[in-house]
Amino acid sequence: MSTKLTIGKAINAGLRRSMEADPKVLIMGEDVGKLGGVFRVTDGLYKDFGADRVIDTPLAESGIIGTAIGMALRGYRPVCEIQFDGFFFPAANQTFTQLAKMRARSGGTLKMPVVLRIPYGGGIGAVEHHSESPEAYFAHTPGLRVVTVANAVDAYWMIQQAITSDDPVIFFEPKRRYYEKADVDTEPPLASAYRMDGARVARPGADITLLAYGPMVKTAIQAAEADTEHDIEVVDLRSLSPVDYATLNASVRRTGRLVITHEAPLSSGLGAEIAARVTQDCFYHLEAPVIRVAGFDTPYPPSRLEEHYLPDLDRVLDGVDRSFAF
């Protein structure tokens, strides 16, 4: 049965289904209870599953992740909400030195089925710390899996896959796209879904590959539609660690060109790794260097400037033009 769901509601539906399927699944975070989260992604779960399974925590991100680790050691599968991207950092120690390394430390004895949900990215006219894209910090941290979603279908399935994974998963939610809708068939068993670490050709094309993820996928598709000169193939990455190079390299070998776009600052952003790797893998196929269209190397600016900071359709197409100019 197919339902029209927004990305936010699709995650909510996925959380609910996971909680129904496994009594060990817990929700933790600030305001995730009665309020249902500041974006209402956990709406209704407190009411239906109670305070023991939907935990309004004290206002302390390190405490959230640290206690989630303890719960995971006890056999639970906590799904932690970090309220906004910019508020992750107090939890950096627990995430990078404990969550990410626990399994390796234990020589495979322990597992860490913890999900961190992080609404990320800009474009909502917010004050400081509410618009950032910190994914590269996580992608550079061995032991973590990092995924993001661009539509409601992926949102529904991938949150469930993240929860069933025995590895810690950082689940980035494109906050400015929370209200984008799609038809989601919520009936099939989870096992039948594609794997969350596979990339997806969102729009086939022959001339150039345009790689995007999360909130930028929509922009990339719009850019592709708007470009009447070039037949742009848009690849939606989905998984940021690991990256599905099989799909990506195949596309680049066909088109010979790659443009990568993300909101995060350019330098040492995820685009750098992908550019470096794809260049190595597809050296003789590339007709131009990989072009990156990204946020600038500045703190996210005040919201009245964000339209200039965020890569938009025009800047993406400028990147496409620059590729063809080689």
């Binding site: 305001d31 309020l35 206002l59 910019g86 600038f296 703190p299 005040p302 919201s303 200039h308 025009d314």
Partner: protein, 371 residues
């Protein structure tokens, strides 16, 4: 288990009742001139008015967001007026009443919430640091600053003191507790001013602390005191004493101002989802402005003409706030690059010039960014 819900704690310091009656307290004599008391009333009314206008401006789309101080005026104005010019305050994001006392214009605050800047004033000029949004971070900045005061030899009877503001939720953050400890161990001249407004967005106090917040201080080895946060006299007197003690080298104090967030958390919030209106009604009876009004009126320290003049000033200010907000100029695109570093940075210089070229490429194209 939780003992933190009672307003009637024996050790709550109150100098002015909700009915506008003075309460004698041996440690905190009220030595304010009528002039000063009327001044406090004016402060309370005007900061509330700025706040009301800002909420309205947000509704009209002129601000991206606003965090209302409604209900917390006395805590802020009392403590703000306890500061000396040379003192330094480290606020959170809701401390518009303190900003007012420190001479920071409403225009600067509006600029921040409109999204034209992430700062907006010169902290040194006002003795008022920038708003800090990441909960708890500023408590450490204040403590470090206070350690700087110590190193400058500026401790002493006429020394300098530092104050930092945060909410009840902030007491759960590691940073806040590290600040308590650094301040205690270093005997730093800093006052921790916690506005316990009973809520951290949707989470009631009992999700943050099992016991009254002011008691946290003793665990770190310095005094903690709870005041009626809706009582501007208590806020002023207790803060002044704590600042003086810091100034004179007695180290930190934690003040828990027991108050209430009468509005939504911010203009984005919908408190009907998580709290009862009965609670609101109860707290309305403790309004910080009405009680000072009652006191002034009952004692005859102010007459109708005075109240009318404040009312008129408030109207004028409201008008000004609306005008100022709308006239705030947008920053220019290339401003993005200007202040990331104090010294040149080659990556940024390159990005800036590439972006300038890119912007220039649209010039004359009729539209800005015009495919």
């Amino acid at each position: 288990m939780p003992e933190n819900t009672s307003h009637e704690e024996p050790d709550l310091i109150q100098l002015l009742t909700p009915e506008g009656e003075l309460v004698e307290h041996p440690d905190y004599p009220i030595d304010l001139t009528p002039e000063e008391i009327r001044g406090l009333y004016r402060d309370l009314v005007l900061v509330r008015r700025i706040d009301t206008e800002a909420v309205a401006l947000q509704r009209q789309g002129e601000l991206g967001l606003w965090a209302s101080l409604l209900g917390q005026e006395a805590a802020q104005v009392g403590s703000g007026r306890a500061l000396r010019p040379g003192d330094m305050a480290f606020p959170s994001y809701r401390d518009h009443g303190v900003a007012w006392c420190r001479g920071v214009s409403h225009k600067s605050l509006l600029g921040l919430y409109r999204g034209v800047t992430n700062g907006g004033w010169d902290p040194a000029e006002h003795g008022f640091h920038l708003y800090t949004i990441v909960i708890g971070s500023q408590a450490l900045h204040a403590t470090g600053y206070a350690m700087g005061v110590q190193r400058d030899g500026a401790v002493g009877e006429d020394g300098e003191a530092v104050i930092t503001y945060f909410g009840d939720g902030a007491t759960s953050q590691g940073d806040t507790n590290e600040a308590f400890n650094f301040a205690a161990v270093n005997n730093a001249p800093v006052v921790f001013f916690c506005q316990n407004n009973q809520w951290a967005i949707s989470e009631p106090l009992e999700r943050q602390s099992r016991v009254p917040i002011y008691r946290r201080a003793a665990g770190f080895g310095f005094p903690g005191v709870r005041i009626d946060g809706n009582d501007v006299f208590a806020s002023l007197a207790v803060t002044r004493k704590a600042l003086q003690s810091a100034r004179e080298g007695q180290g930190p104090t934690l003040i828990e101002a027991f108050t209430y967030r009468m509005g939504a958390h911010t203009t984005n919030d919908d408190p009907t989802r998580y709290r009862m209106s009965a609670e609101l009604e109860e707290w309305r009876l403790k309004d910080p402005i009405s009680r000072l009004w009652a006191y002034l009126a009952n004692t005859g320290l102010a007459d109708d003409a005075f109240f009318a003049s404040i009312e008129a000033e408030s109207e004028e200010l409201a008008e000004q706030v609306r005008r100022d907000c709308r006239s705030l100029p947008d920053p220019r695109p290339l401003d993005i690059f200007t202040h990331t570093y104090a010294e040149p940075h080659s990556h940024l210089d390159r990005q800036r010039s590439e972006f300038a070229d890119y912007l220039a490429s649209f010039e004359g194209a009729g539209t800005e960014g015009g495919r």
